[in-house]
């Protein structure tokens, strides 16, 4: 879309109305994944491997099957045998199937090996205890560096794709290398070069709603599935493949979703519930427990990283290089490529080189988590930049401004940037009172920038006008954080009718064309763009009806404030024709009026943010308290600013947890040690300060209203910003996350 036809004055966009689903959400009547029931419904439960790596010698289900209350037991044999194994991500259906139900081997603690459906949840759990599994325990590995060593146990031969150089361990399954210039020459030009090693542990998305679904599948291959998901079309496609049925015969309805953050972009229990239902010929409800969520879904990748950056005395970066090793569990998919591509993306670099590894271990299959891969890389890179600033005595914002990417900069990962807003976020940070506020003794301040690509993706939206002139909008992207409100605002803007006259529904897979999942910060961008286009499509038809009524050409009619009006003095003298008058007659003037849009928008528009954090370190206990936090991020155009702020605040809070507390802890036996919220501690209300936000608006040339996605960038800067604040407060560089009290204490004592 050209810049010149982009709208800049808005009537509805940028206002803060109540969300349309507010009443449902505050009264308890909103239906989430586990809130659906069906007549004759059975309850499912899944048996999981207690071993990190084991050959499954035999599964004897006969005792469980003999129970009166048990109506079905399934194992891998109950899924399609036509899903093909292929290297890397090419055979992703096979990877998902293998994750959903183990085949020959259990690959991690918590890997599903069998499932039952029984007349009650308690009966199903009791029945699991009667399933006998004979395991031959194999050597395991859960650490990314150890998994790359020559003698590491091999998770799966043949999983590496074409990108992996010869001679690497078979656990290295994908490889990425990119950059430009001559880094060695660049380092030679530098006044100071710092090279350092950084580690981050895996964290979980931590959505409060565990995965839940209600499935019905008959022997005729027709099915119905209700589930909490970020994208029901991908659920439909994947479940159909895993069960060997036709995609269109499975109707999937997305429930309200209790958080996802990337973790609900794939399937875990849905195919299992469908298989149980097919076998029992009754509806089956399957709900995960919290420890199942921790052991078998999510988490994000853990990372081991080496970063080297050269800088001149004036702050100019002369060269940058990074090696990023990401562990993604027992399957290909760890976003080593994204980590590498995002790490240096905020900067205009002449010489840059980045390498990413995707490494398999005996852990659960990693899933996307808000800007997958980017926070880890930013942690390493922005820590080194902070150290360079400290040692050269330079202001961290000035240095970032000096090197900041702008419109036309060749990005570290290849393309040239169109209009972007990094400089604007840095300038806003510098001008913010937080940046000049005095610090108390024991406190430190940290800064970091962050980058995320954002995503468009396949999108369908359908808009239908009712005869009273109100509008219903059908979108296919589940509403995770208020997107119904932003869709209604954008439709109101185009149609010129009040926000309240628009009802936005998340349609099921049978009532709308394909939609990619709600991920990649794509909803407000892509579904928003599609809603605008669908509304414009309807407006064209409204204008046609008005033109026919007035007997003038359609190009002599324009749409203004919810009415058709003559486009100029020469078009004729007619009173404005309101939408409701046109729709009241539509049955007689040509039939129902609807608007559609189906496409894959490509102009998502990258997004940058800058965070400022103050941290206080207790030198006796090693405990860190965040005393002040400010998020500054480019939203392109904030459709509903309150929900944009909410995305910024939520991302920052998750980043605080990742930086300070959250981690997957594995024992020597390869078992997860902290699979409950008491031991895997996400931030609680008393851990956090208010989180200030500044919305920067540098319009995205790829969206009619200038929107950039805002959901993900907010989690990219916090790890580094907090590490920089803690390092500055403690007087020692923190190189490993989380910065839990024991780790900070060790660093203070000099043995970190």
């Amino acid at each position: 879309m050209a810049l010149d036809d982009r709208k800049t004055d808005f009537k509805f966009v940028g206002t803060r109305p109540d969300r349309p689903d507010g009443l449902d959400k505050v009264t308890g009547r909103a239906k989430f994944g586990a809130d659906m029931y069906a007549p004759g419904m059975l309850h499912g439960a899944i048996l999981r491997s207690p071993h990190a790596h084991a050959r499954i010698v035999k599964i004897d289900t006969s005792k469980a099957e003999a129970l009166k209350d048990v109506k079905a037991v399934v194992t891998r044999a109950d899924f399609s045998d036509e899903v093909e194994f292929k290297p890397g991500l090419e055979g992703e259906f096979w990877n998902v199937l293998e994750n959903v139900m183990a085949g020959e081997k259990a690959l991690y603690d918590g890997h599903a090996v069998a499932a039952v459906a029984a007349t009650s949840a308690l009966a199903a759990r009791d029945a699991l205890k009667l399933i006998e599994v004979e395991y031959e325990v194999l050597p395991h590995v859960t650490d990314v560096d150890k998994a790359m060593e020559p003698d590491a146990p091999v998770i799966r031969e043949g999983a590496a794709d074409y990108s992996v150089p010869e001679g690497m361990h078979p656990n290295v399954v994908r490889y990425h290398e990119s950059g430009h210039g001559d880094v060695e020459a660049g380092f030679a030009e530098a006044d100071l070069v710092i090279e350092d090693h950084f580690d981050t542990e895996a964290t979980h998305q931590g959505y409060i709603e565990p995965h839940a679904c209600l499935a019905m599948l008959g022997n005729d291959g027709k099915g119905e599935l209700w589930c909490c998901t970020q994208g029901h079309w991908i659920v439909q496609k994947t479940c159909a493949a895993l069960l060997g049925i036709e995609t269109s015969q499975l109707r999937v309805t997305a429930s309200e979703i209790g958080g996802g953050f990337g973790g609900k972009t794939t399937v875990f229990i849905e195919p299992v519930a469908l298989a149980l239902s097919r076998k029992a010929n009754r509806p089956v409800k399957l709900v995960m427990s919290r420890s199942e969520v921790f052991r078998a879904t999510g988490p994000t990748a853990s990372a081991s990283m080496d970063v080297k950056i050269g800088m001149k005395k004036d702050g100019t970066i002369t060269a940058a290089q990074g090696v990023f090793r990401l562990q993604g569990g027992a399957f290909p998919g760890a976003p080593g490529d994204f980590t590498a591509m995002c790490a240096f993306a905020p900067y205009n670099l002449t010489n840059v080189r980045q390498v990413g590894y995707d490494v398999m271990t005996n852990r659960p299959k990693q899933a996307a988590y808000r800007a997958p891969g980017a926070p880890m890389g930013a942690f390493a890179v922005e820590s080194v930049i902070d150290e360079l600033c400290n040692q050269l005595g330079l202001d961290p914002i000035d240095v970032r401004l000096k090197n900041a990417a702008r419109e036309g900069t060749k990005a570290s990962y290849g393309p040239r940037y169109p209009r972007i807003g990094l400089v604007e976020t840095l300038e806003a940070a510098k001008a913010h009172p937080h940046y000049s506020a005095p610090l108390k003794p024991g406190q430190g301040r940290g800064i970091s920038c962050g980058f995320w690509f954002n995503h468009g993706g396949e999108t369908s939206v359908s808009l239908a006008l009712s005869e009273d002139g109100s509008a219903q909008v059908m979108v296919g992207t589940p509403d995770i954080g208020g997107s119904r409100a932003s869709m209604a605002l954008m439709a109101a803007e185009v149609l010129g009718i009040p926000y309240e006259n628009i009802r936005v529904t998340v349609a099921d897979t049978a009532t709308l064309g394909y939609n990619d999942v709600s991920h990649g910060s794509r909803v407000t961008y892509a579904s928003g763009l599609a809603t605008i286009k669908a509304a414009q499509n309807a407006v064209e038809k409204l204008c046609e009806r008005a033109a026919a009524k007035w007997g003038i050409p359609v190009d002599a009619v324009k749409w203004e404030n919810g009415c058709a009006v003559p486009s100029g003095p020469n078009a004729g003298d007619f009173d404005p024709l309101p939408i409701a008058e046109i729709t009241a007659d539509m049955g007689r003037t040509g039939g129902p009026i609807s608007g559609h849009f189906e496409a894959t928008p490509e102009g998502a528009g990258v997004s940058f943010g800058t965070h400022i954090v103050d941290a206080e370190v207790d030198r006796e206990t090693g405990k860190t308290t965040i005393t002040r936090y400010t998020v500054i991020q480019d939203a392109g155009k904030a459709i509903h600013p309150t929900y944009v702020e909410g995305q910024f605040q939520g991302g920052a809070a998750q980043g605080i947890g990742w930086a300070l507390n959250e981690e997957y802890i594995y024992g020597e036996d390869g078992r997860l040690q902290n699979a409950v919220f008491l031991d895997y501690r996400i931030p609680v209300a008393s851990d956090l300060p208010m989180i200030d936000t500044v919305i920067v608006e540098v319009p995205n040339p790829g969206h009619p209203f200038g929107v950039r996605g805002v959901g993900e960038t907010g989690i990219v800067p916090p790890l580094a910003a907090i590490a920089n604040a803690v390092s500055n407060a403690a007087g020692v560089r923190m190189r490993q996350l989380p910065m839990s009290p024991p780790r900070v204490l060790a660093a203070l004592k000099g043995d970190g």
């Binding site: 969300r19 505050v26 809130d35 949840a121 409060i208 565990p210 919290r290 909410g646 919220f677 956090l688």
Partner: protein, 159 residues
């Protein structure tokens, strides 16, 4: 296992149900009484999504057995509004966008209402500590705390 007959009061209505003695109050509310407002986020007393009041006391219903409800008075999110009139907390939560996904909201509303009944003039710190047992992964708590503080102020003015 044979089932036990329980008679109790939920949101002012007398109800009865049959349950397995191992079933939690949360499961009974949801599966036996169709009150799905309370959610299970953990089942171990750590997330507060299942918060209800039992004879006026704030509890995690996942840690209470269904049979313990015998003769008690239970309050859930479904009983917070007075008919079609929302409780001020409910209005403020919508106004402040104190929810994104909304799955923590029922528990937080029940907990916040219990706080304001005990302490009509809480400090920010008191609100944060009172709600420390209610996890929210979406909002960073900022807008939740503001909504609760503002409701408290409004309720004080109304007295």
């Amino acid at each position: 296992m044979s089932k036990i007959h329980v008679t109790t009061t939920v949101n002012g209505d007398e109800v009865d149900f049959l349950c397995d003695p191992r079933e939690t109050l949360l499961d009974c509310l949801r599966d036996r009484l169709n009150l799905t407002g309370a959610k299970e986020g953990c089942g171990t007393g750590d997330c507060g999504a299942c918060s209800v009041t039992l004879d006026g006391r704030l509890v995690c219903s996942c840690l209470v057995l269904g049979v313990e409800a015998e003769g008690k008075e239970i309050g859930t999110v479904e009983g917070i509004a007075d008919g079609d009139v929302l409780h001020p907390l409910q209005k403020k939560f919508i106004e402040y966008a104190a929810l994104q996904c909304g799955v923590c909201t029922p528990g937080i509303l029940v907990a916040a209402k219990a706080l304001l009944e005990k302490n009509p003039d809480p400090t920010e710190e008191e609100v944060r500590y009172w709600l420390a047992g209610n996890l929210c992964r979406c909002t960073g708590y900022d807008k939740i705390i503001r909504a609760v503080m503002d409701t408290a102020a409004e309720l004080r003015e109304a007295v």
